[in-house]
């Protein structure tokens, strides 16, 4: 779960990481009032897109009046397809240097990693690898002061600025661990005279740990269908084709999409019904797929935890109670396969044995309809 910049900065403030003076507002008048107190300000639209600067989501105002005008322009607008409901109005900083700091997790190393660069302020993906300092952290000791000192040395910092960066890094690590963050990024970390200030805050909380992070605000960035799928415990991603897909397991679902593409079709979605989805869950998943009005639906089940008869029963239930107006192609193997095939036969469907044959059929149906 990504946090809005202003939420990230509230978290920073809680842990003592300095952020620019300012606040988040939802109406232009409040922006004016804030700018009146602060002076020259930067106005930043609060959307979960990384490219706000380039797309006009960030502006500067020297007077309260300008701040209100800017706020009025931003609020209610859309940025990278996302509605701007809130803006952050902050003191415009005198920028002497811009640094980049981040904590994230390296799956290959199985360790937290600290990333830093003296080239802050630009998109880190555009910074050449050799200018990014990457230090893997030993989970047995975490981020210790010596590592933070080494980072400041390699960033070419010294004195009071180095000490503040060490302090900020240690606090970032506390947030990272205590708040179950997957990513914590400050870009840029601004050096302004002798002061070091987090001018931006990008925080992503581990979805799997939200149950124990009750203190955090909840941010929703999924589409309605994705959200509905998540609520019934499924993993769903919207795509732009016409063949709706349901399979059990991320790998086999992707393989199904690959097969559809291989035979020339286009998938409408990725829907991983996961391990052990029961009748009700599977039925709800089917309803989700129907709601997007695909030309056909392919269900690809290799039953392990998932029972073939449950899937067939779910299909029968939806067909009988809600109706399925499009052709459905089903591939069914594994646990309780025979009973599942029987149920399907009772509902007029002969299940496939091989997934590529099912995929080819689904593509054929989509092409013909």
């Amino acid at each position: 779960m990504k946090l809005y910049e202003y939420m990230g900065k509230e978290l920073f403030t809680l842990y003592g990481i300095p952020v620019p003076a300012g606040g988040v507002v939802a109406v232009p008048e409040e922006a004016e009032v804030l700018a009146g107190k602060i002076g020259a300000v930067v106005v930043k639209s609060q959307v979960l897109s990384g490219k706000r600067g380039k797309s006009g989501g960030i502006g500067f105002a020297d007077s309260p009046y300008q701040a209100r005008e800017l706020a009025a322009k931003m609020l209610g607008s859309r940025l990278s397809g996302l509605a701007v409901d809130k803006i952050l109005v902050e003191k415009k900083l005198q920028i002497d240097r811009e640094l980049y700091l981040a904590l994230t997790i390296d799956g290959a190393l199985r360790k937290p990693v600290l990333l830093s660069s003296a080239q802050g302020g630009m998109d880190i993906e555009e910074v050449p690898e050799e200018l990014i300092i990457k230090i893997a952290l030993d989970a047995n000791i975490g981020l210790q002061p010596f590592i933070a000192r080494e980072v400041t040395r390699r960033l070419g910092l010294s004195g009071a600025v180095a000490r503040q960066v060490v302090d900020i890094l240690l606090k970032m690590y506390r947030i990272f661990v205590e708040r179950d963050a997957e990513l914590l990024e400050i870009n840029p970390l601004v050096v302004s005279g002798e002061q070091v200030i987090a001018a931006d805050a990008k925080v992503t909380i581990d979805d799997d740990a939200l149950y124990r992070q009750s203190g955090l605000p909840l941010v929703e960035e999924r589409t309605a269908t994705e959200k509905a799928a998540h609520e019934i415990g499924l993993s769903y991603v919207e795509l732009d084709g016409d063949i709706a897909v349901m399979a059990n397991g991320a790998g086999i679902t992707m393989a199904t999409l690959d097969l559809i593409e291989y035979y020339g079709g286009r998938a409408a979605n990725f829907l991983d019904a996961g391990g052990g989805a029961g009748v009700e869950q599977t039925a709800k998943a089917l309803e989700l797929l129907l709601a997007r009005k695909p030309k056909t639906i392919i269900i690809n089940i290799f039953g392990g935890i998932t029972r073939c008869d449950d899937v067939a029963a779910a299909f029968a239930y939806v067909k009988q109670n809600i109706g399925i107006p499009v052709p459905v192609v089903i591939r069914l193997v594994g646990t309780n396969e025979e009973r599942g095939r029987e149920i399907l036969r009772e509902n007029g469907i002969e299940a496939y044995q091989l997934m590529h044959e099912a995929a080819a059929k689904a593509v054929q149906i989509a092409r013909e309809n």
Binding site: I105, G107, A108, R110, K111, P112, E125, D138, A139, N140, V177, D180, E182, D206, D208, A209, Y211, R212, S235, V237, L239, A247, N248, G249, A250, G251, I252, T253, M254, A255, L257, D258, L259, I260, E261, Y262, A267, F270, D272, G274, G275, G276, F302, G303, G304, I305, V333, G334, T335, L354, M355, H356
Partner: protein
């Protein structure tokens, strides 16, 4: 010889009295796995299929040798249960649950390393020495003894591949589910190193997917250290970049972890990549004919 598990491996089941735990304990026992004890806090003294249940792993260890353990514990308690098994000295820990917080996975991985425990998962279907010992939730009927080692990041897709292998007359030696999460205990490289040494394994099938760099690292390792034929299948060719498909595994970022990049790295290491799952058996057959 086999990899990780043997015919006489003494297995503990943590969370044995739950729905999943009890169902799969029966499946494992039917497969021939020596499940010697179960743990379920508060249920000590009960039994399941004649398998004694204890309140803690330490209590089970007072009465049994515990070579390996499998966790069915719900995600919020899985870290603690994993620590418990590792602390009790199991050699192999299969951490089945999905949705484990990644910081918990980091902690468990680090502790397993300190204690020298082989950690399989989290978010894995388990590991099986075909015909000898299965620790996991994979459907038993597909895992018949043979000479192909299989290592996979995803579950069902692995069953699919193992199913096509079986249909083509290939049994499996050891099949390992690495787990679909970002942080898991074993890597392709770890398993490849074991299978290279394993006298029962003659060819190796890698089932990978887009995202991460595990396949690329494996390719490097294969080039330098693996003499046995390796065949790969990768899921996610058609996935659009930047979308997370499924739990945590499949995502392409910064142009890394792409399908094309992985295929190139593997081909470079002499590993043919099947375009479709059902092509895997013929590639295996071809590699063994050479």
């Amino acid at each position: 010889m086999a990899v990780y598990l043997f015919a006489d491996t003494q297995v503990l089941v943590q969370g044995i009295t739950g729905n999943q735990g009890s169902f799969h304990t029966r499946q494992m026992v039917n497969y021939g796995t020596k499940v010697v004890a179960g743990v379920s806090p508060g249920k000590g003294g009960q039994a399941l299929e004649g398998i004694p249940v204890y309140d803690t792993v330490a209590a089970a260890a007072e009465h049994h040798l515990l070579d390996a353990s499998i966790l069915f514990t719900p995600a919020p308690f899985a870290k603690d249960a994993a620590f418990e098994a590792i602390d009790a000295g199991v050699k192999v820990l299969v951490m089945l649950p999905e949705h484990i917080p990644v910081h918990d996975a980091l902690a468990v991985t680090a502790f397993a390393k300190v204690r020298g425990t082989v950690l399989v998962g989290p978010n894995t279907f388990g590991v099986v020495s075909s015909g000898k010992c299965k620790i996991g939730i994979m459907p038993s009927q597909f895992f018949v003894p043979g000479k192909v080692g299989v290592v996979s990041r995803s579950g069902t897709l692995c069953y699919e591949i193992v199913g096509t292998l079986k249909a083509a007359g290939f049994g499996t030696s050891t099949v390992v589910g690495l787990g679909g999460d970002r942080v898991v205990g074993l890597s392709f490289t770890d398993v490849l190193a074991e299978m290279e040494q394993d006298s029962e394994t003659e060819a190796i099938v890698m089932v990978g997917e887009i995202g991460g760099s595990a396949e690329e690292e494996a390719a490097l390792f294969i080039k330098e250290r693996v003499t046995k034929p390796v065949i790969a299948y990768l899921a996610g060719k058609s996935a659009p970049p930047g979308k997370r498909m499924g739990h945590a595994g499949a995502i392409i970022e910064r142009g890394k972890g792409s399908f094309a990049g992985k295929v190139k790295a593997l081909n470079n290491a002499g590993v043919p990549v099947a375009e479709l799952p059902f092509q895997v058996p013929e590639l295996v057959a071809g590699s063994l004919r050479k």
